[in-house]
Amino acid sequence: MFHREAGNFKTTYAADMAVFPLPITRWTVLVIFLLFAVVFPAILDDYYLSIINLVLIAVVGALGLNILVGNTGQISVGHAAFMSVGAYTAANLAVRLGLPFWITLPAGGLMAALIGALVGIPSLRIKGLYLAIATLASQLIIEWVINHTPAISGGVQASIQVPRPVVFGYDVRTQGQLYFFLLFFAVIAIVGATNIVRSRIGRAFIAIRDQDIAAEIIGINIFRYKLIAFAISSFYAGVCGVLYTYYFGIANYEAFQIVVSVDYLAMIIIGGLGSVLGSILGAIFVTMLPIAIRLFVEAFGSHIWDTGALSAVAASMRLIIFGLLIIFFLVVEPEGLNRLWRNIRNYFRVWPFSY
């Protein structure tokens, strides 16, 4: 990631597709891993760890949405609904059957994948805006069903308290413990997404995105791969929802409304469509930005607005700035932060002899 190679000497496709293009990349990854696994938990206090925890959860969801939207080119406005499916599945299993997290987590993901594949069925016949509207409908329908079925939502408040996950006999309770818990799944999600994208399946996704008719002609079963894309993306969403549930200790449909779907779309657009690094950068950016906005409004907002209205103002500022960023990146830099990062890297690759 931070290395500078002396030239492009790749002679095979395998070398070009490699996860670690140069030996130094392993060291970079190792350093980043040590930074997250050892240095951060050692030097940061609970508040900063809680922010990183939210970022880690968002990374999982953003990776999933990016596989569907960025790689396969199918738009989904219903990502948060799949998260709620995972969350409520896991919460019900954990509370009613007393199952541990290592069963409820994949179960939540699989349930979301199933529902996601169901929602993806219309994608064979419809695409573009029709698919956007269909996924919007599925978002509203899933939200409504969960909210109106006490058997799923656990009563009037539509929220279920879940017990803390137990790892090797210990309750995961403090932010520091949750940090390692979430880091583990975020790393698996990143490795998984990186490998899905460079596999046969991932290449099929990209072929469908770039030109679906051509993809079918060269023998890609479009229906199957579109459903796989929906299923994988929803699996990630479901796991993300389960992680939210364990993180907050409660499954609540209000955490998975359409606004959240738009937040995740913002993450992948700002981060960079069709890129794993982009999903991560976008998740970091979109999770940190509201905190920055809140601090800013709290610090300077009292000169313009009433002190009582500041929290509402911060929420509105967040909407406006997110909207502006989405439009800015779509118009000016469609490949997002990932592209900006690559530009910086390419500049320094030949620096100081840049001609």
Binding site: V69, G73, I75, V77, P122, L124, R125, I126, K127, G128, L129, Y130, A132, I133, A134, L136, A137, S138, L140, I141, W144, N147, H148, D212, I213, E216, I222, V262, L265, A266, I269, W305, A309, A312, V313, A315, S316, M317, R318, L319, I320, F322, G323, L324, L325, I326, I327, L330, V331, P334
Partner: protein, 297 residues
């Protein structure tokens, strides 16, 4: 038996009236899609913003007519500017980009009122009475009657406009094939602006009528979620479709609320149109009157 019939009649009449008012908002969506191929996910926010413009002018102690005029002019200016600043740079980009841009736009518009004029619900009183009109068992509030009349008038006006006027024919040509229209000497970009401005007028009227019915606050934007079932049922690029779709959605919603709500505990009103829409998408995605041009892959 007779009681049930009376109940059903009341539900259907109120559904039809509400449905026509949905059509008015859906019309804004259809106009933009027809002419520019852009999908406006911010239609509900346009309506909300028009409501806020009208209430802001009213708060300055000006007459209702000034407020209505200001809302219409304001929305024309705004939609013109948005087309220029946001949509035009995205010309020729995939549909996904346009959808996301309008979702971002919706975010911005929804965030604006609370930080400028405040988030509390504002009343938008129109100079019409409050006494409901009784037609057999149906109770019709006057505002709904006004809404219906405005909707019918505008739907008729737009139909005539598209069929007869020079600009309307040019807009249809642009909608049909942009390159050919360009070759025939039509200034395509100018007509994109005109289409958005027309959608702005429709949104302004929708905002005033719905705003005076429900009160103006950010919740008014949720009306935009009703637009999608309407346009999918009717067909995305058909004005007649917007009318018929609006009527269907209005009636279905009203019947669902009347007959299903007691059993499932409310909320079917927002839910039933989407189920209907999903069924439609599976079997006839181009809608009842829409142009059939969906590629099958």
């Amino acid at each position: 038996m007779w009681d049930e019939l009376e109940f059903a009649f009341a539900l259907i009449v109120s559904g039809l009236l509400i449905g026509l008012m949905y059509s008015l908002i859906a019309l804004g969506f259809v106009l933009i899609y027809k002419a520019t191929d852009a999908i406006n996910f911010a239609q509900g926010e346009f309506v909300m913003l028009a409501g806020f413009m009208a209430t802001t002018v009213l708060a300055a102690e000006l007459s209702v007519w000034v407020a209505i005029g200001a809302a219409i002019l304001g929305m024309i200016a705004l939609s013109f500017a948005l087309e220029r600043a946001v949509l035009r740079p995205l010309l020729g980009r995939p549909a996904v980009a346009v959808i996301m841009a309008t979702i971002g736009l919706a975010n911005i518009l929804r965030g604006l009122p609370p930080i400028t004029v405040g988030a509390q619900t504002k009343a938008l009183p129109l100079p019409i009475g409050d006494d409901p009109i009784f037609v057999w068992t149906a109770v019709i509030p006057p505002i709904q009657l006004v809404g219906t009349i405005v909707s019918i008038a505008f739907l008729a006006a737009f139909t005539v406009f598209f069929l007869k006027s020079r600009k309307g024919i040019a807009l249809r040509a642009v909608a049909d094939n942009q390159q050919v229209a360009m070759a025939m000497g039509i200034n395509v970009e100018r007509y994109f602006g005109i289409a958005w401005a027309m959608a702005g007028i429709v949104s302004a009227l929708g905002g005033i009528i719905w705003g005076s019915m429900l009160g103006v606050d950010t919740q008014l934007a949720l009306i935009g979620l009703k637009v999608f079932p309407v346009v999918i049922l009717g067909g995305l690029d058909s004005i007649l479709g917007a009318v018929v779709g609006g009527l269907i959605v209005g009636v279905v919603e009203s019947l669902a609320a009347g007959y299903l709500d007691p059993y499932v505990g409310g909320g079917t009103k927002d839910f039933a149109p989407y189920v209907l829409m999903i069924i439609m998408l599976m079997f006839k995605p181009y809608g009842i009157f829409g142009t059939r041009r969906i590629e099958r892959v």
